[in-house]
Assembly symmetry: C2
């Protein structure tokens, strides 16, 4: 089974959560009232097992990317109440609560808790536990809210990023530009982290770049363009050649010369008015500051009548000085049409002035992009090389929440079930193991949950996989490979054997690899095939025994 | 004009942002590339004015609650790069950038920046600046991303809370239960703060309670109920009377006795099977821990056949001991029907056992509530006293982002305009003042923007209000009261005269008061009337002069 060779090892101290606001009181009050009631009943140390899972894949899809695990492990590894927090809890509970409880809270850490989880960045499915958390019931209960908080959004936005990558295609550069529209500062930082994990290439968010080593991208905004009035205001006009061999004393005039060449060339077929002078000044200034990284936002006034010709004038002047301009960004209008027009213009410039490669000048598109608009661009045909995506990506506009839950499945070795009139909300009881079974073609076929003490499925052996709640849905499988999904990430101490917390880049690689490994019909946007999730025959029987045992018998009147 | 009497005063040091991750590098990379380009062009100290505003009210409504201002002021008052941040910026920019720029960044603070804003908690409208930020162009540009981030979600979720309050009605208790589903840890903390601001009564989020003094609420979950097996496991069974006069040595038996009384009374008309024993044990334990605050989640097994009778048995036993049970929580099923059935049962218990007030036992409802479900409950008729609202509230599921923007409107005393083919995206140029004009009935009639140096509108004087972009839309108004909207919250130093940052409770009061002051047709859920936003005749003429000046003239082919 995968992960054993390079798996659990002895390791050292784990850093705290990225956001210092993630402390043990970032939880719901009822976790403390329950902890008190457990403590008062002498029940707080009963050993309990909770499963963290979700019930439905987001965005109408049939897969989810699991993310947020590292933050959960960092949280648990540093779980300790401060005296100030204890005082606040004491103020918040009724004055009748006994002091002994606060001494109990003072002594709590997570050295008696075990966390098994699917590795972060894995492709995951409904009902299969993402994490199995075992420990004293009062302590594990306190973890519920922060764990669900840390996993829900992380997994949702990583999945959203993966879906955007799927539509955009492998060859496009995907840039996350969402900080300003994210739900709060940490919404922005988490978005940058987990969009990168889900397959984006870079972010505009400098803080996220520093925290997680994500590549950074960005050039200038419309305000920069409109902050200039005309090229006359540029004082420092000199530019050294790329190879350092000489200096052009008046780069502004060089740009003007190229603009005139463009104007009187065949390119503009006589339709050329004046380009906007404040835009020309802004582009020239930006090129003087970043001659090796010139990328211009070309839609402040008019893309084809002003932005693109101005960009080309500056780019050709840079070219004469030995620099290669990066490209343009389009932030409004008909992106399919404008990208094609700009591409044609670049190709004409390449021909007209013999600047080799100019036709391939990079075109970045932004402005309210999402899965649907990317799909529409693909259908229309376009010439965009890179996408800057913000609002719809980071706020998960199409579905703003994932419904992860944290359910008690066993206490004191007694399996527990949560019933509901809605069968999709019934929990799967027992401390469980889960396995992913792979078929001949290398695709994952089905996930199966078993009781903790059942013999695990074996490669080449026939096994019955049952739908947990629908008795008619079952299938035999002979797996070509069996992968145990839950691995030990927190054995109660940072010093004991546990799975390594990998660098973000490696988690991203795992995610991209696992997504590529899926059977394509599970991944398509329209009517994807559900991936099968099952339980063993033994677990199936036990679930239904327990269900009948707990459910009241109705009486029709 | 309002706010002058108790307005600007000299004040002291301002604390940093609530989230320590909000530092000057929580911004887009392009703010630094632009800052470098401004610096390189010797343009960085040019005095610029930016407006922060949004273009469209969220959730299909016609109003927005402005929130997030205090965090912006805390940010600016403590704006300073650390050496570590400077090094990181240096690594992130091309190596050709000159060292002098990093010395410049080292020296930056916001002592030369002025922030005028509408007071937090105000009802606000599209296009009218929420904040006007003036200062050296490179510095103010750096503020764009964090400011838009801090305002966007805060205002969105405060508005969402206000809308939920509007549907629920004044008399209901509204509890924010969203931490686990929020977009990241800070999404959760911000949600709790701004939902309270928008009119909620309490939160479940302990960290938010500590940070902002918001009242806390919470009892227990389904896991607590299913963690018990039967009343036999309760070891400590004694309960002291409320008045301390005596002790009941076996409260478990007292509960059992009341359960039998209920069972054999007229209440259950012979349809009574056994209630769930694990639930009964959980309720009894919870009551022993919190005899004065007994509130039970009654839907783990079956609301009317198990949860409510079990609750009543425990509540009646508590009543015998001098305590008053608080109530029940329903977290699934048909909330309208179940709340009515539970109410009937409580009223019958009151009659049957002569327990005065029992019929009024509190009923809290939760489970995926939103504006629509609250509205549907109202239409069906229900007996819910309090709502716990999570996912849809805090993630703003119906519309997950507000589109605040930050636009350059003036630089070096030169007004600037941002054009767009989409007229709603054209910015309103010039450093401006804004006023709210009130009519005879006390309602706000219209907001009007004027140039900075125009004479302000006066009470009792006729003034022409023009739609900024539609020449045919204009109206004369004789205001009965004129309120200047933008007030000085950051004069460049915490020591200079500025508006006070009020406690959250006061901002909440302002919000509730302003919402009540609006004309009802602006506030209704279905087809609300848009509130009018206008410019002075002089500003109108100037906008259109500038527009024609900047826009290229097309040529049809």
């Amino acid at each position: 089974m995968d992960g054993k060779a390079n798996g659990a090892k002895l390791r050292g101290k784990i850093a705290g959560p990225t956001n210092p606001m993630v402390t043990p009181i970032l939880t719901d009050l009822y976790q403390f009232t329950m902890a008190y009631a457990y403590w008062k009943a002498g029940k707080h140390n009963e050993r309990a097992v909770f499963d963290l899972y979700f019930r439905k894949n987001p965005f109408g899809g049939e897969y989810t990317v699991f993310a947020g695990l590292e933050e959960c492990i960092r949280f648990i590894a540093n779980f300790k109440f401060s005296e100030e927090e204890i005082s606040f809890i004491q103020e918040s509970l009724p004055p009748t609560c006994e002091d002994g409880f606060y001494d109990y809270l003072r002594g709590i850490d997570c050295s008696d808790v075990e966390v098994y989880a699917i590795p972060e960045g894995s492709v995951v499915f409904p009902k299969v536990p993402l994490m199995r958390v075992e420990g004293p019931v009062a302590v594990v209960q306190l973890l519920e809210t922060p764990y669900v908080n840390l996993i829900n959004y992380a997994s949702l936005v990583a999945t959203n990023a993966a879906r955007h990558r799927f539509v955009a295609g492998k060859s496009k550069l995907l840039l996350e530009f969402g900080l300003r529209r994210a739900q709060g500062p940490d919404g922005g930082i988490s978005a940058s982290k987990y969009c990168y994990l889900g397959g984006f290439d870079a972010t505009s968010n400098v803080a996220a770049g520093r925290l997680f080593g994500i590549p950074l991208r960005g050039t200038h905004s419309h305000a920069f363009v409109s902050s200039f009035m005309s090229p006359d205001e540029i004082v420092e006009k000199s530019l050294r050649r790329y190879d350092g061999s000489s200096v052009c004393e008046d780069f502004v005039s060089l740009v003007q010369m190229w603009l005139n060449k463009i104007k009187w060339s065949n390119l503009l077929r006589g339709i050329f008015g004046e380009t906007n002078q404040s835009e020309l000044a802004a582009f020239t200034s930006y090129a003087l500051a970043f001659p090796g990284n010139f990328l211009a936002l070309v839609d402040t006034y008019d893309v084809m009548r002003s932005g693109v010709p101005n960009f080309c004038a500056v780019a050709l002047a840079l070219n004469e000085m030995g620099y290669k301009a990066v490209g343009i960004r389009l932030d409004s209008g008909d992106l399919a049409y404008l990208s094609c027009e700009a591409r044609k213009f670049f190709i004409s410039v390449e021909k007209e002035f013999g600047v080799s490669g100019f036709g391939k000048t990079n075109i970045t598109a932004s402005n309210d992009l999402n899965e649907e608009t990317l799909d529409a661009l693909n259908k229309q045909g376009h010439e965009v090389d890179a996408y800057g995506i913000g609002t719809y990506l980071v706020t998960c506009y199409a579905q703003a929440a994932l419904g992860c839950v944290f359910k008690l499945v066993e206490i004191n070795n007694q399996p527990r079930i949560k019933l509901s009139e809605d069968v999709t909300k019934v929990s799967i009881p027992c401390k469980k193991r889960s396995f992913r079974l792979y078929g001949k073609e290398g695709y994952p076929l089905v996930d199966i949950m078993t009781g903790e003490n059942e013999p695990p499925p074996k490669t080449g052996e026939r096994i019955l996989c049952r739908h947990p709640f629908n008795e008619s849905k079952r299938a035999y499988v002979v797996p070509q490979r069996v992968e145990e999904l839950l691995k030990c990430f927190w054995p109660g101490s940072p010093d004991k054997e546990r799975e390594e917390l990998l660098p973000l880049k490696d988690i991203r690689d795992r995610c991209i690899h696992q997504l590529e490994q899926m059977r394509p019909d599970h991944m398509r946007r329209l009517n994807p095939t559900p991936y099968k999730v099952s339980v063993s025959a033994k677990l199936y029987d036990f679930i239904h025994f327990l269900w009948l045992n707990e459910a009241p018998v109705g009486e029709l009147q």
